[in-house]
């Protein structure tokens, strides 16, 4: 399966912040900085979705932002994984009854891993990225078995 080969290297992550309250966003940065140090595995934030393997999305998505999120998702090369960080992206959270929320993220783009928490701890975010990795590996094994 040459198609999934890119996941055998370190994952590069693109972070898109929707209507998030910043709490998840600063925990994502904290996950990369020396205490938790995800960068030692080569996991790092990249500036463009075209370079990324994993898309981290935070926050409930306002109506104004939904089409931008869809565009970011489409710009990412395949194979890709989407990780939702935080309660509001998972289910709407405290913003469930807002007039300006386009819905939880899985109603806008396909999601692979949910990391609940308000905000989740950096360990949980790293665990979420690892889960996305495992999921892809499992998929790869299934595909190899079929061949």
């Amino acid at each position: 399966m040459g198609k999934l080969y890119s996941f055998k290297r370190s994952l590069w992550v693109f972070h898109a912040s929707g209507g998030s309250c910043n709490a998840c966003d600063i925990e994502i940065i904290a996950a990369l900085t020396p205490r938790y140090d995800a960068e030692r595995f080569g996991i790092k934030l990249v500036g463009s979705p075209r370079h990324a393997d994993v898309l981290l999305v935070t926050g409930a998505i306002p109506r104004d932002f939904a089409d931008k999120l869809r565009r970011i998702y489409e710009q990412m090369p395949d194979p890709k994984a989407v990780v939702v960080v935080g309660n509001c992206g998972t289910s709407g959270g405290v913003f469930y009854d807002s007039y300006n929320i386009a819905g939880p993220i899985d109603e806008i783009i396909p999601v692979d891993v949910y990391v609940p928490g308000c905000p989740p701890r950096p360990e949980a975010i790293i665990d979420g990225v690892v889960k996305a990795w495992l999921k892809i590996e499992k998929l790869e094994k299934q595909l190899e078995g079929k061949e």
């Binding site: 998030s20 309250c21 900085t33 205490r35 926050g59 104004d64 807002s98 007039y99 308000c118």
Partner: protein, 412 residues
């Protein structure tokens, strides 16, 4: 003639921005000649939701306005609510609140120092400052149970007490930050590259600062002595006598550029350490909640008719919450929030004009913008003051297209 003006869109998703906002710049060579800021991508309608929920639910909703100021909004909320209800927090709670608020200021200011270093290209400095920031998050976790979004305030008090074992940890953290702030001062203020990159960049004069109505560290860096804790003290701040940190007191003159803002923020960390020390040394004994029973509190709110304004000096500037309880429901009938970034973003357009393209990230970052605090909904009104909704505006657009089509003879 060759094209000399180019259009550079920045955002809403951009590596230099943590949150969605759009800056559109026209450049001539390296010089920016026209600039426009578009906001509203992170609008979630929090005030509307708050006016449908009860006051305690709304208090924790206000915490989610901004995750970095997750004490500042509840602080203004509880003060405003207490004024409307006519109750007062017990003295011990009034001393616990500033401790948590100042710890948040320390973490927010260190966060900003890291972000601005990152925007400039000093990534190792980002990592070093954020390594130091983890210590205050550990303390906040010990005191409140969470690293961010502490849920520790309550209308008429605080939910968690500070115990004897906590005080030891607080003192240790203060000692750590006394040394760490000195190190940060050494790195940020005496580094020649940092100085060259920030001196004269994003320079705001005193007159400009007044005219643009900026607040918080941005205004103080321009030399304006304004600080809610000084001008309109509340809780234990009234006993402490906080003075605004302005550059003219530290280095003799205020230039109002990005370097002066760094100076103000670094010295404010020291000021916060002093405030925390004062609070733990002078903390009175007693209870921590005026009305410990939430059901009693909610029924009191339901019977209350009144209004109140709460103000707090957030790390970024002043936060103002306005409340009106109308005696019919257990939540606010009117709730209005004004966040500091709303004023501070006004300074972007004048500062970017004439600046270089490479200075956009510094100008954008120097006010520590917080889009989730300030994004509003845009309401278009016609000349009679009636609100025009989107479907009406769209119908007008369709009508105009049809009219032009008719004029051009495309359709009959």
């Amino acid at each position: 003639m060759a094209k000399t003006q180019y259009y550079i869109p920045v955002g809403p998703i951009h590596p230099a921005l943590k949150e969605p906002i759009r800056v559109e710049a026209e450049v001539e060579g390296e010089k920016i000649v026209k600039v426009d800021v578009k906001r509203g991508f992170a609008h979630r309608g929090i005030e509307y939701m708050g006016m449908k929920r009860n006051a305690i639910q709304t208090l924790y909703l206000s915490e989610r306005i901004c995750g970095i100021c997750s004490i500042s909004h509840p602080y203004a909320f509880v003060i405003g609510s207490e004024k409307a209800l006519g109750i007062e927090a017990p003295p011990r709670a009034q001393y616990i609140r500033p401790i948590i608020a100042e710890l948040e200021r320390i973490h927010s200011h260190i966060l900003w120092l890291g972000v601005v270093a990152h925007e400039m290209g000093f990534d190792s400095l980002l990592f070093w400052t954020w390594k130091g920031r983890e210590k205050v998050l550990d303390l906040l976790e010990l005191l409140t149970g969470n690293r961010i979004n502490y849920s520790v305030f309550m209308i008429g008090g605080v939910r968690r007490d500070i115990k004897e074992s906590h005080i030891k940890a607080i003192k240790e953290t203060i000692d750590f930050y006394r040394i760490f702030t000195e190190e940060m001062k050494d790195v940020f203020l005496s580094d020649p590259v940092y100085k060259a990159r920030t001196r004269g960049v994003a320079q705001l004069s005193k007159e400009m600062a007044l005219k643009l109505n900026v607040c918080g560290p941005v205004a103080r860096a321009a030399g304006l002595r304004m600080d809610v804790r000084q001008d309109n003290p509340y809780d234990a701040y009234a006993d402490i006598g906080v003075r605004a940190v302005v550059p003219q007191d530290i280095v003799g003159e205020a230039r109002g550029d990005a370097y002066d803002i760094t100076l103000v923020r670094l010295y404010e960390i020291e000021q916060s350490l002093d405030i925390i020390e004062f609070c733990i040394d002078n903390m009175p004994e007693g209870k921590i909640m005026a009305i410990p029973n939430y059901v009693v509190l909610l029924s009191k709110i339901k019977k209350t008719v009144g209004e109140g304004i709460g103000m707090h000096e957030a790390p970024r500037g002043e936060v103002v919450h306005y409340f009106k309880y109308d005696g019919t429901r257990d939540g606010p009938a009117v709730w209005k929030v004004v966040a500091p970034s709303y004023n501070n973003i006004n300074s972007w357009a004048p500062l970017l004009l004439g600046a270089e393209v490479a200075d956009i990230p510094i100008v954008v970052a120097y006010i520590d913008p917080c889009m989730c605090c300030n994004d509003r909904v845009a309401v278009v009104r016609d000349s009679d003051g009636r609100t025009l909704d989107y479907s009406l505006i769209r119908r007008k657009a369709v009508e105009k297209t049809m009219k032009i089509k008719k004029e051009l003879g495309v359709i009959e």
